[in-house]
């Protein structure tokens, strides 16, 4: 029997499998703290409302490419920190990040097989899902729908996914050419 139709369509190539240096836990912590600082950075006016969630993106990166290094606990605590910094309901970001971790772990074997363009779509889906969770929580708590601008951070976040992918990998690339003697 022929199962070819089950296979993913052969569009877009997965990014070339690089041989990277082993990831130190310290480096993961550093990237997450940098993402936190980027999220806390005060921006004027509208920029504040459309800033992508760097913590979510960084978490997705580590979960997709090193699924056994970052667990639920750090993600959940980062969510609590974001709740305090944002002044949102306590546990709102924590719940959103738990959902994000679940989806990212569920999809990680799939995401790495796709090319950048298709990875963006997956990341977008995960980010939107976590934002929908927050939206649902706030609507239940009695807030109004803040308008479609609310989803712009997810779109921007998905758009900068290739950039983040490369920036995180810069310190992990071997310094000398592997073929050099």
């Amino acid at each position: 029997m022929n199962f070819d139709w089950l296979r993913a369509p052969p569009v877009g190539r997965a990014p070339p499998q690089e041989i990277l240096l082993p990831v130190k836990t310290r480096y993961i912590a550093l990237t997450l703290v940098s993402a936190l600082v980027l999220d806390l950075f005060a921006l004027p006016g509208v920029l504040q409302q459309i800033r992508p969630d760097f913590i979510a993106l960084t978490l997705i990166y580590w979960v997709v490419y090193h699924p056994r290094r970052v667990g639920f606990l750090p993600a959940w605590f980062l969510g609590l920190i974001m709740d305090v910094a944002d002044g949102s309901l306590f546990g709102q970001h924590a719940l959103a990040y738990a959902v994000l971790m679940y989806l990212a772990i569920l999809l990680h074997r799939r995401i790495v097989m796709f090319g950048m363009r298709h990875q963006i779509v997956h990341v977008l889906a995960i980010l939107i899902a976590s934002q929908l969770i927050m939206l649902g929580v706030r609507l239940m708590a009695g807030a109004d729908f803040p308008g479609l601008m609310y989803f712009v951070p997810s779109l921007l976040g998905a758009a900068i996914w290739p950039l983040l992918f490369n920036v995180i990998r810069v310190p992990l690339r071997p310094r000398s050419h592997p073929d050099a003697v």
């Binding site: 006016g45 667990g71 639920f72 920190i81 309901l89 306590f90």
Partner: protein
């Protein structure tokens, strides 16, 4: 660990278990926060821990602002200086009048046996940033309980009421703007003396004056000031200007929209006004509450 094979036997709880555990924990926190308002202490603790990071992340922005300030043109400074001098002269004249009026007022109040209006204390602060939460209209001010700020105090700027302190941390506090959804400010119209309550509707630059009858004496351009009967906002501070009135006899109330006078969306200096407790004591508060106490008094 990175390149070792995945553990065969010790895999820990399954993904779904972990997800369920953390989701339930989050939902428990949400309910505890939203319904019962617990967890203030935990929030405070995390806020103190995050504070250095927050300062760190605001450094580059501050630096750019400083540099921008450094290169202000001489002529602009001169103009500003001149303007401020003129303003000060005018203010001094006004202050002198106010002082004489104040003493006169005090005298009259003594004659009439009225309660004295207590002098209020101000804490000057600066708006650090507007909150990231897109569901609310809040700003963060650089004064916390270390400086004597308490939750519930009113916040004003030079043009009028900005909002109310709703959450106090060690060095910063959160101010809910008057434009936040359901944020209420008791007001009085300067022209007609009519009392009412304005509500924020969740959009910048708009307030709503609710529960005013269709024939209420309100006109476009009326200045609304705080009435002071709530004990939170000092009386006489400008809140909003009426911008649009829809009177439709089919409804019980008129639809009145107003524009807040204070520049609530821009960064700047604000004053946090301490709420002097000068309301008379609630006569029902001491013994049994409810209608039983009322009856006994009759």
């Amino acid at each position: 660990m990175e390149y070792s094979p995945p553990p065969f036997f010790k895999r820990g709880p399954s993904l779904l278990t972990r997800f369920t555990f953390f989701s339930i924990l989050s939902v428990a926190l949400l309910v505890a926060d939203a319904r019962f308002n617990y967890l203030q202490a935990l929030r405070q603790g995390i806020a103190v821990a995050v504070y250095p990071l927050q300062r760190l992340s605001s450094l580059p922005g501050n630096f750019i602002v400083r540099i921008g300030e450094f290169f202000v043109a001489q002529s602009q400074l001169q103009r500003e200086n001149e303007q401020l001098r003129r303003q000060e002269l005018l203010d001094t004249a006004a202050t002198q009048v106010v002082k004489s009026l104040e003493s006169e007022n005090q005298h009259l109040r003594q004659l009439l046996g009225l309660r004295e209006r207590l002098a209020r204390e101000f804490i000057a602060g600066e708006i650090l940033y507007s909150n990231r939460d897109p569901f609310t209209r809040r700003v963060v001010v650089d004064r916390g309980f270390q400086h004597g700020v308490k939750a519930g105090q009113a916040v004003v700027d030079e043009a009028g009421v900005v909002g109310q302190v709703t959450r106090v941390f060690a060095w910063v506090s959160e101010v809910t703007l008057v434009t936040d959804k359901e944020q209420a400010v008791p007001i009085q119209s300067v022209r007609s003396g009519l009392r009412g309550v304005t509500f924020g509707i969740g959009y910048d630059g708009t307030l709503e004056l609710r529960f005013m009858p269709v024939n209420a004496d309100i006109q476009n351009g009326d200045l609304l000031v705080t009435s002071g009967i709530d004990g939170t906002y000092p009386p006489g501070l400008p809140v909003a200007v009426v911008s649009n009135i829809e009177r439709n006899a089919a409804y019980a109330f008129a639809r009145i929209t107003c524009t807040p006078t204070s520049a609530v969306t821009s960064f700047g200096q604000v004053l946090i006004v301490s709420t002097a407790d000068q309301l008379p004591e609630n006569p029902l508060a001491d013994d049994e509450p409810g209608p039983k106490g009322k009856k006994a008094r009759k």
